[in-house]
């Protein structure tokens, strides 16, 4: 590789925060405004559709933001060094979490449109739902999910704060403290994200259940998280914002992770599908048949091809994972495929007659994207683009394979 080799950390060039162009910010604000306008406009026309898309956008972008915390925690706990120079990107993803906490109230506002169990009269007539009433009720739902969001926010904030402090002091103790935080976070994350997915997505079809659902959502979270990190990393890398800190070997590792988790997602999705299909119990199959037979059938096939087969084949060759542009394309594809996946989980509940795609779908989703872009770029504009004084930065800068 052509990357420069550094002997000591003193040779490393200084780093500055990113200068975010005003145009980008305006663009994000415009997207957010479009989102707001379409949401309120479609709220009048079809509140179910508006809230369904709101939930979809909220879940998609909150999970992406949370994937930043997860990625950070995973790197600390495994003592990975290759990813250190890229660390500001997952840290930037976390910046959306405070916004997500606020946006959650939108889901709460729409709970009557979204969830059958939120109607007391439905609960009374429905035998199975009555048995779940101790869990599926609005006060507990609100408490659970708000606490999840706040816990993630606290952990994300602490991990990022310690990392930024290290830019000043370079203290090893901060890395060690973050490693401990990471262990605690991962433990809590496994449970909280499971309940978050069960509450927000699984309980849309309140009678349905699947033990693997939390793992399925986690697979999507991490896959889309790596894709988002790759997208941002390639943009910054191609504009030479990283200097000598990031080279194709780092991108190569992101590509490999993306490949691995594409397969992981497929494995989990297949496990869920196969077992429900084979046992053929009506209480389980209704969820899949709604999404796989009839008008939604093309969508189910598309999901298999778009989210697994195509990225798998494109990511398999070795050399291409070092090429920024190629990787960027696939990462964007994976993010789009993840949208398709979330869409396939949420929308069939409200549109049994087939996929609908129009202004509300696009507008509300890009609205979230705008807020997300704003949060991420604000963060990157405030802190140095590389954690230069991390005690193991040399291993990351000189990382080759």
């Amino acid at each position: 590789m052509s990357a420069t080799h550094f002997e000591t950390a003193d040779q490393l060039p200084a780093v500055r925060p990113l200068t975010v162009r005003g145009g980008f910010r305006l663009f994000c604000i415009a997207l957010a405004v479009i989102g707001g306008v379409t949401f309120f406009a479609s709220l009048k026309a079809n509140p179910e559709r508006a809230f369904a898309n709101y939930l979809l956008g909220f879940f998609y972008w909150t999970s992406l933001s949370l994937s930043g915390v997860f990625f950070l925690a995973l790197q600390y706990i495994t003592g990975s060094t290759w990813s250190i120079t890229l660390r500001r990107i997952p840290e930037a993803l976390v910046a959306f979490l405070p916004v997500a906490v606020v946006l959650f109230f939108g889901v709460l506002a729409g709970s009557h449109h979204l969830y059958e169990w939120a109607h007391p009269q439905a609960m009374d007539v429905h035998g199975i739902l009555q048995k779940k009433a101790a869990y599926l009720n609005l006060p507990f739902f609100t408490f659970r999910n708000l606490s999840c969001l706040l816990i993630w926010l606290v952990f994300g904030w602490l991990l990022v704060r310690n990392s930024i402090r290290q830019d000043e002091t370079g203290a090893v103790s901060l890395t060690k403290r973050n490693t401990k935080l990471a262990a605690a976070f991962l433990l809590i994350f496994a449970l909280t994200y499971t309940f978050f997915s069960v509450d927000l997505l699984m309980s849309l079809e309140a009678e349905w259940y699947s033990t693997i659902f939390g793992v399925y959502c986690f697979a999507g979270l991490f896959l889309s998280g790596i894709a988002m990190i790759t997208v941002i990393a390639v943009i910054l890398y191609r504009r030479k914002k990283f200097g000598p800190y990031v080279h194709p070997d780092h991108l190569y590792d992101l590509g490999k992770l993306m490949l691995a988790f594409t397969v992981f997602w497929a494995y989990i999705a297949f496990s869920q599908f196969m077992l429900i299909w084979y046992a053929d119990l009506p209480e389980e199959t209704f969820y899949l048949s709604k999404r796989m037979i009839g008008p939604w059938q093309p969508m189910a096939w598309a999901l298999l091809i778009v989210k697994f087969i195509i990225p798998f084949c494109l990511l398999l060759p070795q050399g291409v994972k070092r090429q920024g542009g190629y990787l960027f394309g696939i990462a964007c594809w994976v993010l789009a495929a993840h949208y398709l996946d979330c869409y396939w989980l949420v929308i069939p509940r409200f549109a049994e007659r087939g996929p609908i795609f129009g202004m509300p779908e696009i507008g509300i989703f890009v609205g979230f994207a705008g807020l997300f872009g704003l949060a991420v770029s604000t963060f990157l504009g405030r802190v140095p683009i590389v954690p230069r004084r991390d005690p193991r930065i040399m291993e990351s800068v000189n990382f080759h394979q």
């Binding site: 495994t78 048995k131 779940k132 496994a190 693997i212 494995y267 496990s271 084979y278 046992a279 193991r392």
Partner: protein
């Protein structure tokens, strides 16, 4: 620079490259001690007890086992799943940790892979004798025959036949390929002619040429790639044996990843059990250091929590489903007649590994030895709990029953342990227990031209893992 990141060397720095061959080949170049013979005698006796029990079963008939309606699967299938699971650590270490660039695996992969092969061999016994008439076992294979009979391709039991036999074949080839350079080393060091011939034959004429290494590395990478899906697929298919059914407690979607996590968990526990003994008996503490044991204990901690997550999700979802059969099955597990097995499983698999949060305990040999035994026991009871408690009380209370193992099943179980340890003991004396060529690659020794003299620079710092 005030920051110094202290790293622990993978291999103790006092070891030089030349020590590696000598130390690791030592068990093969000396006479076994009486202790080894004693261990082998115990293992072979246990295996013979098992063989006698199998013989009794074949002669008398299947009725000598404790299984009957409604519990048609019990200790036999528990043992099958247990041993298949044990094998997974070897494949994970040699394939997935290889792809994740975890170089600490080099000291442990050889014995872990050997363990895989012996564990799969042991596991294979159970379905074969469970058929009741093992002389018809070839019926498990699809082949054109004059009766026009075919196997049921829709049954996961058949997929198991394919999965396990593929697993065994690939693991064996992978293991043997890794052995080739080391076998050549043993050949070159051999003093007697017969030894030279045997190891020379097994080393396939390896001469350490650059071309040889190039092909070797490529084959190694390809086999690692092929083995990686096997880590997931084999135990996923084993889990399908249960999960495709309609039985509450068996049919649940989390089974495939849950079984894989459990397999890795139990496999690492078995590796820890074995390596604690091996490193002590053969004096390999400098190669299999506390750092290696520490890393393995971390994996035990992580995978232990993964199975804990699965236990929790099963419980939660059984309640959340609102399905009374599901709810009953899990209540019955925790509070019914087999509650003792359930609580052994939970305490050994979820509670015991929690001690590994402490670095001191992760590095304490007695503590990890005892903990790994507990995990082995816990994982055996996990399979017992899944299989027996789900079967013994299903939908109809009129068809409920209890299961008690007969002495034959106990004997076969003891025999399986004897069989496994017999092979492992033979392996320890007959083949290098540590991949010498791979360990050397982590020692970072290189020669730097220094005027006319060549100066050896040994770098001790290696990976900071986990």
């Amino acid at each position: 620079m005030e920051t110094v990141w202290k790293k622990e060397p993978l291999i103790h720095p006092r070891k030089k490259l030349t020590d590696v061959d000598r130390d690791i080949c030592a068990p093969m170049e000396s006479r076994p001690s009486w202790r080894w013979y004693a261990c082998l005698a115990v293992a072979v006796s246990c295996a013979l007890v098992g063989a006698a029990c199998v013989g009794y079963q074949l002669h008398t008939g299947f009725g000598v086992w404790g299984i009957s309606y409604p519990v048609g699967w019990a200790v036999d299938i528990t043992n099958f799943v247990f041993w298949i699971g044990i094998g997974h650590a070897g494949t994970l270490i040699s394939a997935i940790l290889h792809l994740f660039r975890q170089r600490w695996r080099t000291s442990i992969n050889r014995s872990a892979e050997a363990m895989t092969i012996f564990a799969v061999m042991t596991a294979g016994i159970f379905p074969l004798i469970h058929t009741g008439r093992p002389w018809y076992d070839f019926w498990l294979l699809p082949y054109p025959n004059e009766r026009g009979l075919w196997v049921n391709f829709r049954s996961p039991l058949l997929w198991d036949v394919f999965a396990v036999s593929t697993y065994f074949t690939i693991s064996l080839v992978f293991w043997y390929l890794g052995l080739v350079p080391d076998l050549a080393t043993v050949r070159d060091r051999a003093k007697t002619k017969i030894k030279k011939f045997i190891y020379g034959f097994l080393a396939l004429g390896w001469n350490g040429s650059e071309r040889g290494w190039k092909h070797y590395e490529l084959a190694h990478l390809i086999l690692a790639g092929i083995s990686t899906p096997l880590v997931l697929s084999v135990h996923s298919i084993v889990s399908f044996d249960f999960a495709v059914s309609l039985l509450p407690g068996w049919h649940t979607t989390i089974f495939p990843p849950y079984f894989v996590a459990g397999a890795i968990f139990s496999g690492f526990a078995m590796v820890v059990t074995l390596l604690v003994i091996v490193r002590k008996v053969f004096g390999l503490e400098d190669y299999i250091t506390l750092q290696h044991m520490d890393n393995m204990n971390k994996i035990i901690l992580v995978t232990g929590m993964m199975v804990g997550y699965a236990y929790g999700m099963e419980m939660f979802t059984a309640w959340y489903s609102g399905n009374e059969f599901e709810r009953f099955t899990f209540m019955n597990r925790a509070l019914g007649p087999y509650a003792w097995a359930y609580w052994i499983m939970v305490s050994c698999n979820v509670l015991v590994p929690q001690i590994f949060w402490s670095k001191k305990l992760r590095r304490s040999i007695p503590v990890m030895f005892v903990a790994s035994l507990f995990v082995n026991v816990g994982m055996w009871f996990e399979r017992f709990t899944i299989i027996v408690t789900s079967l013994h009380r299903d939908y109809l209370p009129s068809s409920w029953g209890m299961y008690k193992p007969s002495f034959v099943e106990v004997g076969v179980t003891i025999g399986s342990f004897g069989f496994f340890f017999m092979w492992f003991l033979l392996f320890c004396r007959g083949l290098p227990t540590i991949a010498m060529s791979e360990v050397k690659s982590t020692m970072h020794t290189f020669l730097k031209p220094f005027g006319k003299k060549k100066v050896k620079v040994v770098e001790t710092g290696e990976e900071y893992v986990f």
